[in-house]
Symmetry: C2
Subunit: 230 residues, 2 copies
């Protein structure tokens, strides 16, 4: 039986946008595993699989349920060791945690300040109320104020990813000549922006933009199949 | 024949301080290899091994010469594969490059703004002239101006290493339960500060401080054998 990946969507079920769900989706593709996807809005997540997790992605493999993208990658690596490796060894697994930590604390908060109002606009009605209330409480301001002057925030974001740019100038992927889960971790962040918002972020000619295009093309263009937000 | 590691020192040959030389020294210890060290001041480097390299560390292993700390780690990993691994596999090697890129672009420039005047004070006379001239040209200002208000620069440094702190709150080392070369990469940066400057940087109770202490204790306390600057 094919596995099931539960993914987050807004009003358009064909546009999964969660960065973490994209990490899991590409991890499954990397392993060459068959899977079907089931979509859920924010307010539907607590009802999935009998309330198994408050977050997606959730992977169901036979009787096994796993939530959290990194945990899913570790599960796939341990369960399907003969498929292409997501970590390239134990050292790669440990250091992927650093890439995750860096991406979550460097890229994610900055992208949130660019796209959060666009995310809201793409949600169904019930999810919109939930999203606005929970995020405005977390941010301490309105969604509109949170993204005000967002154009001015692009340049600092591009500056902050210089450590990424420098390595991608010398190797095709974070994983070296071919991608590893670490690539999907960072890809998820930019794909989140690409699918939710028309705001241009990565300029043409940027090494990071070139790497992102390479990632969009991986696994028969899995990432690129969902068109960019217009 | 034991290997030779060429290291940078100031007027006190017992206090190697280059972050990159510390990376190489701990890599050799990690592999459990015998080596002797030969010290050089900045202006002596071009004369080492017939002008082999403009930078230290340089490793001499029999007839083989290798310069650059990462290249040395890769050389040791390839040449002594039966010794404890510095990368934990190919994925770890690739992602160690990201750790290096991050450390060089996040930690190093900030530590430089804390300690360059202390470094200058610790150099021999000829190296002092070279160091002041080359660094003032690179920084576009005097060493004194470059470190002015340095106390106010500690807090932003501590904030910028949050991605490191978050991972060290969940695992003992970047490498996981035990250290890898990635740990030595970041250790080198803080050891550079510790050996050159009495300025307190990592506060007690910080997860990064606790990790740094663990690193100082590794390999029979290799890093801790050189006392902190007073």
């Amino acid at each position: 039986m094919a596995m099931t990946l539960y993914e987050l969507v807004g009003s358009d079920a064909a546009r999964p946008f969660s960065p973490h769900c994209w990490k899991a989706r590409l991890a499954l593709k990397h392993k060459g595993l068959d899977f079907q996807t089931v979509t859920a809005g924010f307010t539907e997540i607590p009802g999935l699989e009998g309330g198994f997790s408050k977050i997606v992605p959730i992977l169901k493999d036979g009787e096994t349920l796993v939530a959290d993208s990194f945990a899913i990658a570790e599960y796939l690596e341990a369960t399907y060791p003969d498929r292409p490796s997501l970590f390239g060894g134990e050292g790669g697994r440990a250091l992927s945690r650093f890439v995750e930590s860096w991406s979550q604390r460097t890229i994610h908060p900055q992208i949130a300040r660019l796209v959060v109002l666009d995310i809201h606009a793409g949600l169904g009605e019930r999810d919109q109320s939930y999203f606005r209330e929970s995020r405005e409480k977390a941010f301490g301001t309105t969604l509109e104020a949170f993204v005000a002057d967002r154009e001015a925030r692009v340049e600092p974001l591009l500056k902050s990813i210089e450590p990424l740019r420098a390595i991608l100038a010398r190797q095709a992927f974070l994983g070296g000549e071919s991608p590893l889960f670490a690539d999907y971790i960072v890809f998820g962040a930019f794909q989140w922006a690409r699918v939710t918002s028309p705001l241009p972020i990565l300029p043409a000619g940027d090494e990071v933009a070139a790497w992102f295009e390479r990632c969009l093309a991986l696994h028969d263009g899995e990432g690129g199949k969902v068109p960019a937000a217009a």
